[in-house]
């Protein structure tokens, strides 16, 4: 598989690097010593149940939270770094758009926030999520799926080389979900590094690599087929449970 070969290619500078990342909230270790390197141009799935630390891990990687220990690097820049944020796209778990503003106003606002002056880039982002003809619609009146699409467009408006998508397909209908993944794949093929968090196992097969997250730790990492084979099962959910059981033992 071409992607797998490229991801595994030695010597390529990692797009994302975590080294001994720890984040504690009081006595809770939300992220507990996570280290990995992700090569550029691939789709990486952070898979784990709710509360396993996926969102906190993304917040550490994007510099929105300061680690208790360890460090994160994006494209060679140690996070947190304000300048590095111009090269990162982040779609939050909530829509994170302004409901009183129209689609066009929301996209223009985030374009300005990212310093994008190219009107073509903004239109392209809306076109990618099929909202180009809804520029004047007020965001609050859109359906849940349309709001997620707008949220995605706002995360991609500056054509970032690294994108974090926190549960991007929650509340999205199956047809739109397919469109989303098709688009993610297209971006990855152009060299974008995409990290997708999800607790839905049936989406995992669309990723190049999976990182199983449980109790703040990465308990397994590999291509979906490899993880299935290592766990001796054809079902990713079963594979996750097998690895989780081994980690707890």
């Amino acid at each position: 598989m071409a992607e797998a070969a490229r991801l595994a290619s030695p010597g390529a500078a990692p797009a994302i690097r975590a080294a001994g990342l720890v984040k504690t909230f009081g006595t809770i270790r939300a992220v507990d010593g996570v280290s990995f390197e992700l090569a550029p141009g691939g789709i990486y799935g952070l898979l784990g149940p709710n509360g396993s630390g996926k969102t906190t891990l993304i917040r550490l990687l994007t510099g929105l939270a300061r680690p208790t220990a360890g460090m994160a690097e994006i494209l060679g820049t140690r996070m947190p770094s304000r300048s590095a944020l111009a090269r990162i796209g982040y779609m939050t778990q909530s829509d994170g758009i302004y409901p009183a503003l129209t689609v066009g106003e929301n996209s223009r606002f985030f374009a300005a926030a990212y310093g994008v002056r190219d009107e073509g880039a903004r239109r392209e982002a809306l076109g990618l999520v099929d909202l180009a003809d809804r520029e004047s619609s007020v965001a609050g009146t859109l359906s849940g799926g349309q709001r997620r699409r707008l949220s995605l467009a706002c995360a991609l408006i500056h054509r970032p080389p690294v994108v974090f998508l926190d549960e991007p397909t929650v509340g999205v209908d199956p047809l739109l979900r397919v469109q989303f993944w098709t688009h993610f794949r297209r971006l990855a093929e152009t060299g974008t590094t995409i990290v997708v968090s999800s607790h839905v196992m049936d989406e995992a097969d669309r990723c190049d690599e999976l990182l199983f997250v449980r109790a703040g730790r990465v308990i397994a990492r590999g291509a979906p087929g490899v993880l299935r084979a290592e766990a001796g099962t054809s079902d990713l959910e079963q594979a996750f449970l097998r690895f989780a059981g081994e980690a707890a033992a």
């Binding site: 929105l64 985030f110 300005a112």
Partner: protein, 381 residues
């Protein structure tokens, strides 16, 4: 700092508020209704009883006038007693044994239209305004009773402070300041809480936007609405448009027509500085709120004490001495004082007291802008 990003934030705030009709009503209609109602209550309320002392420098003519004035006041439940000189009269007013003093001049009958001097304490402008109104009615009645003499003009002086014949003249500056402060705080607090809880702040912090840019963008956005609100409120408070009788409809006037001694633009500057501080206060306090109700719950803690202790209702000098030191920590007290300096005393930038008020308001705005900026968390090196 990026001007383009600040403009984008400013524009977004404006776009949001523009579509938020209840907030627009809160900003622009509520203050008009409330100041209108207050003016009505203060100006048209029950005439209070007046216990007066009289200094007669006009000899027999003055005694005759006093003879007419005394029964008129007594008929309304008040009283009139004569004292020897103005110093005694002032002392009586100062110690509260009389509501006011009337000084009849030596030329009470010789000049064209006599002028009597009325001395009030000066600490309760609204209450004294009512008493002055009652006295003027009594003077008119006394003048008519005294063989149809022309009613005397009244020169109002106070033992403390500067007098005003209109209770609203002292009250209006305080109300203008309070409404600007209250509504701007409320709108900013709720709006920024939505940013925090709606996920947009998290997302905004994942862009290269700096915290200072967010505070500045918000301040510009809400300052625009504060400017419009203050402009509307000032026009309403200061202006008067008279509408003549139209068929069965009697003549009426729109606007409160309160006289302003100084430059209205100076008053505008005072309120604007206060409003800018209120934006940052709203952002700061939204850190401690989880729901919009909690923003409202800060009102009794943060705004009501300022309302009570900043001279809006009660003169600062009449407050218990234990409380008075706290007044210095209330931003609203500087705006109220600054506006009264402009409205009542006609102060300009050369007046030291106004300079202090403006200086403190600038410092307060800068302080809360810095604190608000700290509360917008992004762990950026």
């Amino acid at each position: 700092m990026s001007g383009r990003r600040i403009v984008a934030l400013f524009r977004r705030v404006v776009q949001e508020i523009r579509r938020d009709r209840p907030s627009l009503a809160l900003l622009f209609v509520a203050p008009i209704l409330i100041t209108g109602l207050l003016t009505f209550i203060l100006r048209e309320g029950q005439a209070p009883t007046v216990h007066a002392v009289l200094v007669n420098d006009a000899g027999p003519a003055g005694a005759a006038f006093a003879g007419a004035l005394g029964p008129t006041l007594e008929a309304a439940g008040g009283s009139l007693r004569t004292v020897t000189d103005e110093a005694t009269a002032r002392a009586a007013v100062a110690d509260g044994s009389a509501d006011l003093a009337v000084v009849l001049p030596a030329d009470l009958v010789s000049s064209g239209r006599p002028t009597v001097t009325v001395i009030t304490e000066g600490l309760d402008p609204s209450g004294e305004g009512g008493q002055l109104g009652s006295l003027q009615k009594a003077l008119l009645a006394a003048a008519s009773a005294g063989s149809g003499r022309q009613p005397p003009a009244v020169q109002h002086v106070t033992v403390y402070g500067t007098p005003s014949s209109d209770p609203m003249a002292n009250f209006a500056p305080a109300m203008v300041a309070f409404f600007a402060y209250f509504f701007v705080y409320l709108l900013t607090g709720v709006s920024f809480l939505r940013e925090r809880t709606g996920g947009t702040l998290e997302r905004l912090m994942a862009t290269p936007v700096a915290r200072g840019e967010v505070v500045l963008g918000y301040t510009l956005g809400f300052a625009l609405f504060a400017t419009l609100q203050v402009a509307l409120l000032m026009t309403w408070v200061l202006g008067t448009v008279r509408v003549g009788a139209l068929g069965p409809l009697p003549a009426f006037s729109i606007g409160l027509g309160i006289a302003v001694g100084g430059n209205p633009l100076m008053a505008f500057l005072v309120v604007l500085l206060l409003a800018v501080g209120a934006v940052s206060l709203g952002i700061f306090l939204s850190t401690f709120a989880r729901t919009e109700l909690q923003i409202i719950q800060f009102i009794p803690v943060v705004l009501v004490p300022q309302f009570l202790l900043s001279g809006v209702l009660f003169p600062v000098s009449s407050l218990p001495s234990v409380i008075q030191p706290f007044v210095s920590f209330m931003p609203l007290s500087y705006a109220v004082d600054g506006l009264r300096q402009v409205f009542v005393r006609g102060a300009d930038l050369g007046v030291g007291a106004l300079q202090v008020d403006l200086g403190v308001l600038v410092l307060v705005a800068a302080f809360f802008a810095t604190v608000a900026s700290w509360t917008i968390r992004r762990e950026v090196a």
